[in-house]
């Protein structure tokens, strides 16, 4: 049985009222005396149970805020409210960032497009060079073909004597069908006589009358080399003829035909 002074001493110890020296002495006794230790445990449990006697209190609703203020008194609790003035710069920055991104993307695409166009231009220039070369070749071929065509349009005729006295005469005519012009070469042709002229005629197979190609002036050596042309367009040359006409010539053959050929 624990005496009353010891009981009061234990109670004061449990309530924290003993000084350091008294508490040290009592702890030594608690370690050594089992009965006192048991009494101390029971009283401590009883004191602990007293805490359950108080009514349960609901914590204040602003308890978290109070705790935060005590923990961080220097910081103000910021209310999260929608503030358009603060959001506007961020929205503007976001828009600028998006615009920069889009412009950068477009710039890259344009650079790619320019590079592609340059490559196409180089290829086109090459194709143009090849085409120009082909064109030159074609022009050359065309010129050669035209020459061939031109030669094919040429008609060469040898005139034969129609009168015995002109058997010695030699006459050639080269006729250009395209331009209706010609060259005549005559040799050993006797003089036509006083008041007479040689007149060249072009025979058009589609015309009833020969067409005059002009008067032929005979040199003293009997040689004639002259260019001539007709006033009318001759579509189909049938031959050439030289007649002796009165001086100055005639619109239609009236004199004797001395040379003719086709």
């Amino acid at each position: 049985m624990i005496d009353e002074p010891t009981q009061e001493l234990v109670i004061q110890y449990l309530l924290g009222e003993l000084g350091p020296a008294e508490a040290l002495d009592l702890r030594a006794r608690l370690d050594m005396e089992r009965e006192i230790r048991k009494f101390a445990d029971e009283i401590q449990e009883t004191l602990g149970s007293l805490a359950l006697s108080s009514e349960a209190l609901e914590p204040p609703t602003d308890l978290p805020e109070l705790i935060l203020r005590q923990e961080r008194p220097e910081r103000k609790i910021v209310e999260h409210r929608f503030r358009p003035i603060l959001i506007f710069p961020w929205a503007l920055a976001a828009c600028l960032a998006i615009a920069c991104l889009l412009l950068s993307f477009e710039r890259t695409e344009r650079q790619k497009r320019i590079a592609q166009l340059k490559a196409d231009l180089v290829q086109t220039n090459r194709q143009l060079e090849v085409a120009s070369q082909k064109n030159d070749d074609a022009e050359k071929a065309l010129v050669a073909l035209e020459r061939k065509t031109h030669l094919s349009d040429m008609k060469i005729a040898m005139l034969k004597a129609q009168v015995a006295s002109y058997e010695q005469a030699v006459a050639f005519v080269v006729w250009d069908r395209t331009n209706c012009t010609g060259i005549i070469q005559l040799d050993r042709l006797p003089p036509p006589g006083a008041g007479k002229d040689y007149q060249l005629w072009v025979i058009d197979s589609r015309s009833a009358q020969p067409i005059s190609a002009g008067i032929l002036a005979v040199q003293n050596d009997g040689l004639i080399h002259a260019n001539f042309r007709t006033d009318e367009m001759i579509k189909s040359v049938g031959g050439f003829a030289i007649s002796v006409e009165k001086s100055g010539g005639s619109n239609v053959p009236q004199g004797q035909i001395v040379l003719m050929g086709n």
Binding site: Q7, E17, E42, I43, S49, L50, S53
Partner: protein, 66 residues
């Protein structure tokens, strides 16, 4: 826990008012025995006795389950 709390409150109602008052001042308000004696104008020995007897009575009541 609620049952235990109800048991403690019932036990407190079974001890005397003087003992209960001394215990509340010592346990809940944190007064020392001397301060309680001074506030209640009661001798220190009487206060010590009230607290001791009150605690013993509470111990017995709770051990018995009232």
């Amino acid at each position: 826990l609620r049952e235990r709390s109800a048991l403690v409150r019932a036990a407190l109602q079974k001890i005397s008012g003087e003992q209960r008052k001394a215990l509340e001042l010592a346990f809940f308000d944190g007064f020392t025995h001397e301060q309680i004696a001074e506030n209640l104008a009661t001798p220190l020995g009487t206060i010590k006795a009230r607290i001791r007897r009150g605690l013993l009575r509470l111990r017995d009541l709770m051990q018995e389950g009232l």
